[in-house]
């Protein structure tokens, strides 16, 4: 059977991912490009006896070295040399989308153009002459509608046909860049060819163009041949001076002008005809009148976000309760089947409690992701960035910081790991760094269980209100800290905002589902591996070394004494009295065991400090575990309480136990919620921060965030104590 590697490429919002999903179905694999956090999506499909391996390249506007996405797209094309590029373009915005197409053609790689969103084109009354377009570009063109799969068969057939015809041969397109550039370009091309300068990877003319555009990446790659490189640089400098003096322009600007000129001329040759009456973007325009209105826009935004909480909790509660019930039944079952001892304790307190605590929140997280996917796919998220930019810039950030913040949990229930990764679209290192360092303050999905637990224990009537306030507080503190960082440690200018506002679209169910599933799977995977391991590790830390020999002996003699007295007891009242005393003794012994464990010792050691914020040693253990992964906090508290209180009645849930614990009160709960919201990012996030910046900043986040959290929690607790 034939094998064929195809790269899907195109601008963001061209429907590239939708088409990728339509073509590959569910047979795809998501990973990362080595060393960077740009997502690498691959899929496989068999079509007409050919095995198609499809790479979904990240969306980009151009093939410059402007963003990591662009660099990745370029590297895949050059290093992996796929047989073909399927360039997905939004046919209703053909002129701009062809700007990228022309760059593929200049590179010379075989291209099939997927003329997507033909439904929009038809409804706008635009007609496109597909044959003329194909002839003008010199590549095959297939009309498609990714959302309903129209044109998919034809596209794949064409892709295979072109692949077989071209046999991987690159044929660069030559565009004229006018009288000033062309002669220089020819001179450079000749030099490059003579010296075989980078010609194993790039066509000579393409390298020359990139040198004229001062493409950092290519210039760096060319540094292996200093002589040729500096000769080329000299030519570029001369041309640059000439352009500045005579045309008051830059070579890269002239190149862009001519590229657009080429596209414009091509489209005017009977390729595209617009309706007589100019099309008004009715739906989007009318919606934007309300959704980005001065007063209505922000109000609707706050309302939408608030509605999201209500919906999530309304729908998420039932499956959550069901899962919690299933896991507690399982724990019951295991307790009955396996005799009491370390194995039972490990399975019940370590494994089942650990995994159950995490999995019972999956329904909630899924609903959250469904809604986030809906907002992203519908185009509303871009409006949020547009409306919020002014505010964000005030705090030294960028409108696009909204995304990392929201994904991290700005709409409660995200995760700081993809959130921090999402910050890579920020081009300015300073705004990116400030975003990365402050996004983990957001209430991520793993912190929510802790909030829910404490809300359930002390403020059950005000669930939605408190969750909403937590989110507002997170935003306030994140923004203030960002401002602080941007005016102290990360000073500097702001970056261009330049962003597309996509038309509103009704998201496809399939798209939202795939999106939701990918993120939920990520969460479960994390839960299943890291958290299980940590849960077991923590169980061990809380079980060993256990009580001292003296304690054990003392306990045994006390127990025997009580038992003897009970046997000798004459009245039922006396018997009952002794049996209560026995249970009390067991409880004390359990508490002593935990207190004497490795974790208990550390927690107790920290208690003199942590009591300023109202935390006892149990909370300390849980919070220490939370640095590994926030999901662990609740399960650790659960383990701590089920080990500390021996008569663990499975029906008494943790919330009730905490509510009845004298160490806890509403003020301590508020202080703990604030601390959990703000303190050290989880270990996975720290690793991602290190990857997106460096280890220095990752360690900074660990220490700085904890310090901020502890100071604020202490203030709340001490102030609360004064007031009450």
């Amino acid at each position: 059977m034939n094998n064929c590697t195809i790269a899907f490429a195109g601008n963001p919002n061209a429907g590239k991912t939708t088409l990728f999903n339509t073509v590959t179905g569910s047979h795809h694999h998501v990973g990362n490009y080595p060393g960077i956090t740009v997502e690498r999506k691959e899929g496989h499909v068999q079509f007409a006896g050919t095995q198609l391996n499809i790479i979904d390249l990240p969306g980009c506007y151009s093939l410059t070295a402007y963003t990591q996405e662009e660099l990745v797209a370029r590297q895949v094309l050059v290093e992996e040399r796929p047989d073909l590029v399927i360039n997905v373009v939004d046919a209703s915005k053909l002129e701009r989308h062809l700007y990228l197409t022309v760059q593929f053609l200049e590179l010379g790689i075989p291209v099939v153009l997927a003329l997507n969103m033909m439904d929009d084109v038809r409804s706008q009354g635009i007609t496109i002459n597909v044959e003329a377009l194909a002839k003008g570009l010199g590549c095959d063109v297939c009309p498609t509608i990714a959302r309903n799969g129209e044109g998919k068969q034809n596209l794949l057939q064409q892709a295979i046909k072109t692949t077989n015809e071209r046999q991987g041969k690159w044929q660069p397109l030559h565009i004229s860049y006018g009288p000033d550039i062309d002669p220089v370009l020819n001179e450079m091309e000749q030099l490059i060819n003579e010296r075989n300068f980078l010609t194993d990877k790039y066509p000579a003319r393409w390298s020359a163009i990139k040198f004229l555009e001062s493409d950092e990446n290519l210039v760096e790659q060319g540094s292996y041949d200093q002589t040729t490189s500096s000769q080329l640089q000299q030519i570029v400098t001369n041309l640059r001076d000439h352009c500045e003096k005579t045309l008051n322009s830059f070579p890269e600007a002239i190149i862009a002008d001519y590229r657009y000129g080429f596209i414009h001329a091509l489209l005017r040759k009977n390729v595209i005809t617009f309706p007589e009456k100019e099309y008004r973007f009715d739906v989007t325009d009318n919606l934007d009148k309300f959704l980005t209105h001065r007063v209505l826009g922000p109000s609707i935004m706050v309302f939408l976000l608030y509605a999201m909480f209500q919906i999530t909790f309304a729908f998420g509660e039932y499956p959550m309760q069901l899962l919690a019930f299933l896991f507690s039944s399982l724990a019951d079952f295991v307790s009955r089947v396996i005799p009491a001892g370390y194995l039972q304790s490990l399975l019940v307190s370590g494994v089942i409690d650990g995994i159950g605590g995490v999995l019972s929140f999956v329904p909630l997280i899924m609903i959250m992701f469904i809604m986030i996917a809906f907002l992203e796919d519908s185009g509303y998220m871009a409006r949020v960035a547009y409306m919020m930019d002014k505010v964000f810039r005030t705090f030294g950030l960028h409108g696009s910081s909204v995304m990392p913040f929201i994904i991290s949990g700005g709409i409660a229930g995200g995760c700081a790991v993809p959130g921090v990764m999402a910050a890579r679209t920020l081009r300015s290192p300073r705004e990116k760094l400030a975003t990365i360092l402050t996004a983990p303050f957001m209430p991520c999905g793993a912190k929510i269980p802790v909030f829910l637990l404490l809300i359930g224990a002390f403020f059950s009537e005000y669930k939605a209100l408190i969750m909403f306030s937590i989110t507002l507080v997170a935003w306030m503190i994140a923004l203030l800290i960002a401002r602080l960082l941007r005016s102290t440690l990360i000073k500097g200018e702001s970056t261009p905002f330049v962003m597309e506002l996509p038309p509103y679209r009704w998201p496809t169910l399939r798209g939202v589902m795939i999106h939701t599933w990918e993120r939920t799977a990520e969460y479960i995977k994390k839960a299943g591996t890291v958290i299980l391991a940590i849960s077991i590790l923590l169980w061990a830390a809380m079980t060993f070394p256990g009580q001292t020999a003296e304690q054990a002996t003392a306990y045994q003699s006390q127990q025997q004494q009580l038992q003897q007295m009970m046997e000798q007891a004459t009245t039922p009242q006396q018997q009952q009295q002794y049996s209560i005393a026995l249970i009390d003794l067991e409880k004390q012994q359990g508490a002593a065991t935990l207190k004497n464990s490795a974790a208990g010792k550390l927690g107790t050691m920290l208690e003199p400090l942590s009591k300023w914020a109202g935390f006892d040693w149990r909370t300390n253990i849980a919070l220490l575990g939370g640095v590994a992964a926030k999901e662990v906090i609740v399960s650790t508290l659960g383990t701590a309480y089920s080990l500390g209180a021996v008569d663990s009645d499975a029906s008494t849930n943790l919330s009730e136990r905490i509510a009845n614990d004298p160490h806890w009160n509403p003020i301590a709960a508020l202080s703990a919620m604030l601390f959990v919201l703000l303190y050290a990012p989880c270990f996975v996030t720290i690793v991602v921060i290190a990857r997106e910046s460096n280890w220095k900043w990752a360690c900074f986040a660990l220490i700085f965030n904890s310090a901020v959290a502890f100071s604020l929690a202490t203030i709340i607790f001490q102030a609360g104590k004064l007031v009450s």
Partner: protein, 80 residues
């Protein structure tokens, strides 16, 4: 009438005459299709008056006012 893009009001139409930005900013603006000769129309401003949203080549782009300053346009007389 030649003026900077910042000075345009919502619903104004104009043609780009020059983009006086180099480096990263210039590249970004050109990638999005802002080159001399492009017809644009201001379609809105964010609630806090900044950024500005404009339509060109069949799509909507947003820019900050201080970025709009680099772009010079020839404003068309309003058609009644």
């Amino acid at each position: 009438m030649i003026c900077s893009l910042r000075q345009l009001q919502v619903n104004d139409k104009a043609t780009v005459t020059a983009v006086n930005a180099g480096g990263e900013m210039g590249r970004r603006l050109r990638d999005m299709g802002l080159v001399p000769g492009t017809a644009i129309e201001i379609v809105g401003r964010a609630p806090l008056k900044d950024p500005v949203a404009l339509r060109l080549r069949g799509f909507t782009l947003t820019l900050r006012n201080n970025e709009a300053d680099y772009i010079y346009v020839d404003k068309k007389a309003p058609t009644a």
